[in-house]
Assembly symmetry: C2
Homo-oligomer: 352 residues x 2
Amino acid sequence: MIVLIMAGGIGTRFWPLSTKETPKQFLHILGQRSMIQQTVDRILPLVDHKDIYIVTNESQTGLVREHLPELPAENIIAEPMGRNTAACIGLSAVLLEEKYENDETMLVLPADHYIGKPELFRDIISQADAFVKEHKKLLTFGIEPTYPATGYGYIEFGREIRKDPIPIFAVKQFKEKPDAKTAEQFVKSGTFAWNSGMFLWRIDSIIEAVKNLMPVLYNSLKEIKDCWNTNKNRVNRFYSGLESVPVDIGIMEKADDSVVVPINIDWNDIGSWQALDEMKQKDKNSNYFEGNVLDIDAQNTYVYSTDKNKKIALIGIDDLVVVDTKDSLLICKKAKSQEVKQIVERIKKEDQ
Amino acid sequence: MIVLIMAGGIGTRFWPLSTKETPKQFLHILGQRSMIQQTVDRILPLVDHKDIYIVTNESQTGLVREHLPELPAENIIAEPMGRNTAACIGLSAVLLEEKYENDETMLVLPADHYIGKPELFRDIISQADAFVKEHKKLLTFGIEPTYPATGYGYIEFGREIRKDPIPIFAVKQFKEKPDAKTAEQFVKSGTFAWNSGMFLWRIDSIIEAVKNLMPVLYNSLKEIKDCWNTNKNRVNRFYSGLESVPVDIGIMEKADDSVVVPINIDWNDIGSWQALDEMKQKDKNSNYFEGNVLDIDAQNTYVYSTDKNKKIALIGIDDLVVVDTKDSLLICKKAKSQEVKQIVERIKKEDQ
């Protein structure tokens, strides 16, 4: 099995800490190791460094090398620009196919998720790996929902394909982020899981699927492969013209042989400051402070300051996220921390 | 008439903008000119620069000279340390008495108040000046209350001494900051005014009053005067031993000949960030922003940032004061901005 880690995130959710220059996967927001380092650490018991690949934006290859010096430099696949997951997975598959046996499997992982039960995660991957190697299915992992989340997409299970050693279902359909009522129905039904964005398949299976289901993409990827090391301008021209589609929509949903494995691994995509806050140990007033903070009656507040000498005084405030960096300050009602993305959009427009 | 401006404030109310090094009187929080400059500008139509004196802490004499270069350097009276208003007024009076005629009057003004009707203010001062010159009374100005403030002290009127050209009452008593219910009674009665901390008297009257009502202070001031220019150590020793009492309590309240002139001059002592905020023109969401602010649904929020390039993003917040400087950040529920003082106290303790 080889591992492809998708590290093309562009740094909008954790602004002002994450930026275009340092997106979330490179932040040390959960412990000493960055998110991308933790993603590698987690999978290392199953694979060698030489079989771990990172697909990322070319502007971030320096950061990847810095965070993962153990990886061979040629294992970093540098996209000229982001074109969503069907393109980056397809590109990686066509670039790697000759390097491996026909039946080699490829585990695809986002670079910036949290998994609280890594051992269980690896056990299930090993079982799933044996399955896709034999059956040539396109497999995704569905997180068993613990509450009716409206911030995740869902996968609906079809018929059960097998029960042991791990349950595997056909994929019935993918669902976009639902409203609260729909989310509740999904969770109550017991036939939906959260879409984790993790996939497992044989390299030949995914290439075959791209060829059949996204033929325009496939042809462009072939062109790109042919000039990958020889004609950068041509690569850029073709890559910029690629359709920007998620692999779950472009491939998984259309394929006849998509399957989903439900897993319960204490997973969190940490998609916002609020989500990160929920993972932190709080003080007696439900505050979490990282910085030189003094407070009078602050409650339920998250503070992150990059300058540990700067004095931050909070008086009588409640339910806020405060993030202070040298250049920027965010003060946000916790439940609205998803809207940070809009701020980043506005700054981008202003800077143009 | 000479003018004594008391500029000994120590910079706690407007932290983190005001500090021990730059207290409120030196801030440009209301327009282009600092508070102390505005205090001088306001009174200049009545007096010459040469007759305006500043009593301040010796650590702030440099700042005073910088803000008021038109004043003769010798008009800055430098206290070795703060000992409240009875001491600083008494000191100034004994140091100046020989320089002026016996019947010269002295207007005493805080350096950091706002007055919206300066012309009316000067008119009343001129009338009051004629009165104290003739009658040797100790006069204070009582601000006609516009709402039942709990953040000010009050003065209760006694019998009316005269009606024209300006009404003058005997002082019945001074009252500390009242609770809300008491404040309402005060305002409803029509016989209370806010204690503005502004005074007017003949130099000989105030010296006489100090001698009679605070004889220990008087004797120490005489000692201090004798060695003022010759023995700094002795000055410091005596000054540090002075009783620390406000002039309204130590002198005005005990004197038989205290009078109060009610005035309605759009006055504000700007005692907190909230008070400053109330003076600002707001946008349609009741926000006031000084800085590079982007917001989504921010309401009723005051932002002051010293770094105009720093991006400040507000999402979904309400009713806050946000003050960001290079070294410090304050985020405070508006109604609690008085508690900034406690933060300053805590920082002082930590720094010791």
